[in-house]
Symmetry: C2
Subunit: 598 residues, 2 copies
């Protein structure tokens, strides 16, 4: 191990140091990222942020009402969750353009968590939602402080995509009842379809007509409103943003229709009176049993929300060559949820479509979110009376159109073509979420993807290798034209050696011996062995003893620095019935030459 | 990928085929391994097996009574568990010398599972034990049929060693009450010590004296009985085996003392009347709730038992250059447990000390176990009356001396020196088992070792590499004197790329760019990348796009066959802003030469 520098021997701690060591003067700024943009805030930023804030506010009002309804909460809770949480994220978050607030999937998970309770005890859903937000917030902040953000990586891409697709379907199904004006409920697609089917005879025609009009308008506007605005000589960029305000247009139109035609007389369900003004600040009451029941749902909501939010944040930041800091994002989102909890709101996270509108509308700094929060705060005073006549069917239509954009089964096809284990993870997440519910669906997805990964690493690919003529390079004898030697078996184990595959290695190596009676030397090419744990070391010792008994030498080549460090701590190398070579090339030729001499 | 043979492209299925494809004529023999030895059974085998059987029978009688007492069951249950199970294993098992029957750790786990029930409902412990044996047996047989034996590998060496050490302590503590003649109970060391301390004032002096005599004799005989026998001109081998029968000697002596001196009048607890004769055959009654509660303990008992048993079996087989077949062992042990269940027994597995005696005494085939079963069956008739005067303290002493051999804290020291994650797994298993109990202890150990492994692979070692002068070999620039190029960054990621480390890779690669302003090319050396899943592919695509925007090429070298197969299923290689090179050497020089020309 020539040329080794002493300070690099413990690579693990070196890596951690690299990420953890922040120069002193940056400390405060890394805890309060807002310091950075406040220092350099200019008038032009104010204009850009202000325009973006107006557009996002207009978009957020119907969304916040709708997602509160989806979560099974009174409409004002949606507004409350769109004020303080935005301010908190503007202070602690690192994305300049992420729009935090109520989102579809987190609202569905909130509904599911609250429904899970309802069966056992009578709990005020608003209190339960506040507890969920508080637990989520505290959990996220803790993850951020202890730099445990990597945990979110265990939600693999197939699991997240599959989960969001299935959630989209469940959300759409859960809103159909408002379009039909009937009762239906359930945690999963099966229950929802059953209750919808059972009650479909009671469909209210006024509600259905209004709901269909809203749905058709919203679907139409997704592809055509922008074109129409461009025809009306509105600049393309502006048209693209204005077309996103279609939900507000339909909200105004249907509210007016409901009021003028007194449609509630025909059985149209309305949102009803909403208390005017800002929420009071308070903490949810302590109830050991209730908090315990809500802990697991809160953890799932926060982790899923974080994963979605970070992926949106990363994508938008990259477009402007900016960066977000994943661990600080945990603190930003955590603070937003704590803020939501103390101001009568429910779990929030960064929303995909709203963040894109914010970005496209030109938001430059998190101040845009701050202005949006002020806009919503004003709305709580101005709108309270107007909301009384807002039809629930309209909100349901905006939800359905929004979430159908989440439904994307192509992930299943993509996974199927790519690898069966990715497909299994995605498929089990989709099916379990649809058939059983969101919590079990996502948990089984995570467990399945980890289990499949462990299964694969427990049966590693072991290739017999030979030298490619004219090079010093060794490859699989089954795939390449290579040079081998009758007395030498060169094996490349394509996996770190650890407890799960240690005895598999033993069985495979020893079974290869049976077919090679003239074998005198084994070389284990360790290019892919990144770690050897104590269980694997025991097995290597067993293999070494067994080979010694059979008069076969046991050699290692290309052992990596960190693995060599570990082996040197033990007496394995002293007892090794063979040598450790720097490269497979040197090992093969040294042993081959020696065999010739004998 | 020249020289690739078509049939080797799907390495995964090829490997499975290798292990699964058994030539037709061997099928029956692989299901019934006894056919092999029955065919070739000779008179000399009969003599060797017979002698071994006599010695093991003598050793097994007190052991089976003692372990039944440890499990909280009547003494005859121990004898029943030493008849049919041995016959079943002789038919289905693959080890020639493994001695199946009641063992210490499985008996402790049985006691713990039954105690866990007792609090909630009144269940006959014998019925619960039979259910445990049946569930264990069926579970093991299923694992064997579906070739899921690899699951046992997830019990890492530190977890198993730590668990057995902690179990040994709990077992010894649980038997102290019999030596003292007091009451004590508990699932863990803390509860046992508390109840022992609370009742120590009630110590029965007769019991204590007899218990101490038994303990001292047994401890003494461990090291000195063999020497004494050799002095008495008995051959060394014979002396070694005879010294193992010390428990029988003390059983006979103390039983005689109890009978002659009527020690029960002084408060000495005796085993009491045991029903004479063989057990009837029956299945435990069906009780959904009860069976469900016992399922998890049964799974733990069977997996732990299997791991212990296979490790004993492998060690003994290797000494005679024989082999055991792990998947068939599952069926053998499963059959033994089912046999135990239907004949009024409790969970059994291969015992360490008894198997060594069987081996040393010269057992040649599983027929030895069959003869042992006959010996125990005879004993159920002959011994019933004699056992009435056997003191419980004697049995407790034999258990304590036996299990203290299991206690070995050196695993903690060994792990500490080797790796902190192995130590954490071992330490948490030992502490949780001692403080909380066997089930939680072993489960947390398994979860901890898997979690630590995943954590390590989620933050892989990423080395910058350069070429070692005069070779084609690339190594870490921090450990070796190597040649690098200012425009080229060669990175070796020491881990498969999968969901848990995908975004870590992205962060690390992109952060390395910031320090290298003159960088034009990145080469990812893929020697240690054994798998790329769809989450990692997404990240590679992101890195590729990001590098393209920055005008940096993204090249891969030494991509393994199976990984290349996966990448070729996607359009990643078409969009790759760089090339895939056969070796790192070719990649480095091709790119360096090209940079020179420009």
């Amino acid at each position: 191990m020539d040329g080794k520098t002493p300070d690099s021997s413990n690579h693990g701690s070196r890596l951690i140091k690299q990420t953890d060591k922040v120069p002193r003067p940056m400390r405060l700024q890394s805890i309060l990222p807002c310091i950075k943009w406040i220092k350099t805030y200019r008038r032009t930023d104010f204009v850009s942020d202000g325009i973006a804030a107006v557009i996002v506010t207009v978009m957020l009002i119907p969304q916040s009402l709708a997602y509160a309804m989806l979560a099974g909460l009174p409409p004002e809770v949606g507004l409350y969750a769109s004020i303080l949480p935005l301010v908190a994220y503007a202070i602690f978050g690192t994305s300049n353009t992420l729009s935090v607030g109520p989102v579809a999937v987190a609202s569905l998970m909130t509904a599911s968590a609250i429904q899970g309770l309802a069966a056992q005890q009578t709990v005020d859903p608003v209190v339960a939602a506040m507890i969920l937000a508080l637990l989520s917030g505290v959990f996220l902040v803790l993850l951020g402080i202890f730099r445990f953000g990597f945990l979110a990586n265990f939600l693999s891409h197939p699991v997240v995509s599959g989960f969001i697709t299935a959630s989209g379907i469940i959300i759409a199904l859960s809103q159909l009842k408002h379009i039909l004006g009937i009762n239906a409920s359930g945690d999963n697609a099966v229950e929802l379809l059953e209750t919808l089917y059972a009650n479909i005879g009671e469909t209210n025609m006024t509600t259905l007509m209004l709901g269909l009009v809203a749905l058709i308008f919203l679907f139409w506007s997704r592809s055509n409103l922008k074109k129409l605005l461009i025809v009306c000589t509105i600049a393309e960029d502006t048209a693209a943003i204005l077309s996103k305000t279609a939900p507000v247009i339909i909200v105004i139109l249907t509210t007016a229709a409901a009021y003028l035609l007194e449609l509630d007389q025909n059985g149209l369900a309305l949102v009803g009176e909403v208390p005017a003004g800002l929420p009071g600040l308070s903490l949810p009451t302590w109830d050991m049993d209730l908090w315990q029941q809500l802990l697991m749902p809160a953890i799932l909501i926060s982790v899923i929300g974080y994963v979605e939010s970070v992926s949106v944040g990363k994508t938008l930041a990259a477009k402007r060559r900016q960066k977000i800091e994943p661990n600080q994002e945990l603190i930003g989102l955590g603070a937003a949820n704590v803020a939501s909890a103390v101001s009568g709101g429910f779990p929030v996270t960064g929303g995909f479509s709203r963040s894109i509108v914010n970005f496209d509308a030109g938001a430059e700094t998190p101040a845009a979110s701050f202005y949006t929060a002020m806009g919503i705060a004003l709305a709580t005073f101005a709108m309270a009376g107007l909301l009384a006549y807002l039809p629930k069917a309209t909100l349901a239509a905006t939800i359905i159109v929004a979430v159908l954009g989440l439904v994307d089964f192509s992930i299943l096809k993509k996974c199927w073509l790519f690898s069966k284990s990715d497909f299994t993870a995605a498929f089990s997440t989709v099916t379990l979420t649809l058939l059983v519910g969101v919590e079990l669906g996502v948990m089984c997805g995570v467990v399945a993807s980890i289990a499949l990964h462990l299964y694969k690493t427990s049966r590693p690919h072991i290739a017999e290798v030979g030298e490619i003529e004219g090079s010093e390079h060794f490859r699989n004898i089954n795939r390449h034209q290579v040079i081998t030697h009758t007395a030498i078996l060169s094996l490349r184990v394509d996996e770190s050696l650890y407890f799960a595959n240690a005895s598999y290695l033993e069985d495979e190596v020893l079974s290869k011996l049976e077919k090679r009676k003239d074998l005198k030397h084994i070389i284990l090419m360790c290019t892919a062995i990144n770690e050897i744990d104590i269980s694997a070391l025991e097995v290597l010792e067993t293999i070494n003893l067994r080979l010694r008994d059979l008069g076969i030498t046991f050699n290692l080549s290309e052992v990596k620095g960190p693995v060599m460090d570990t082996l040197e701590k033990t007496d394995f190398l002293e007892h090794l019935n063979g040598e450790v070579f720097l490269t497979q090339h040197i090992a093969f030729h040294a042993i081959a030459d020696r065999s010739k001499e004998q």
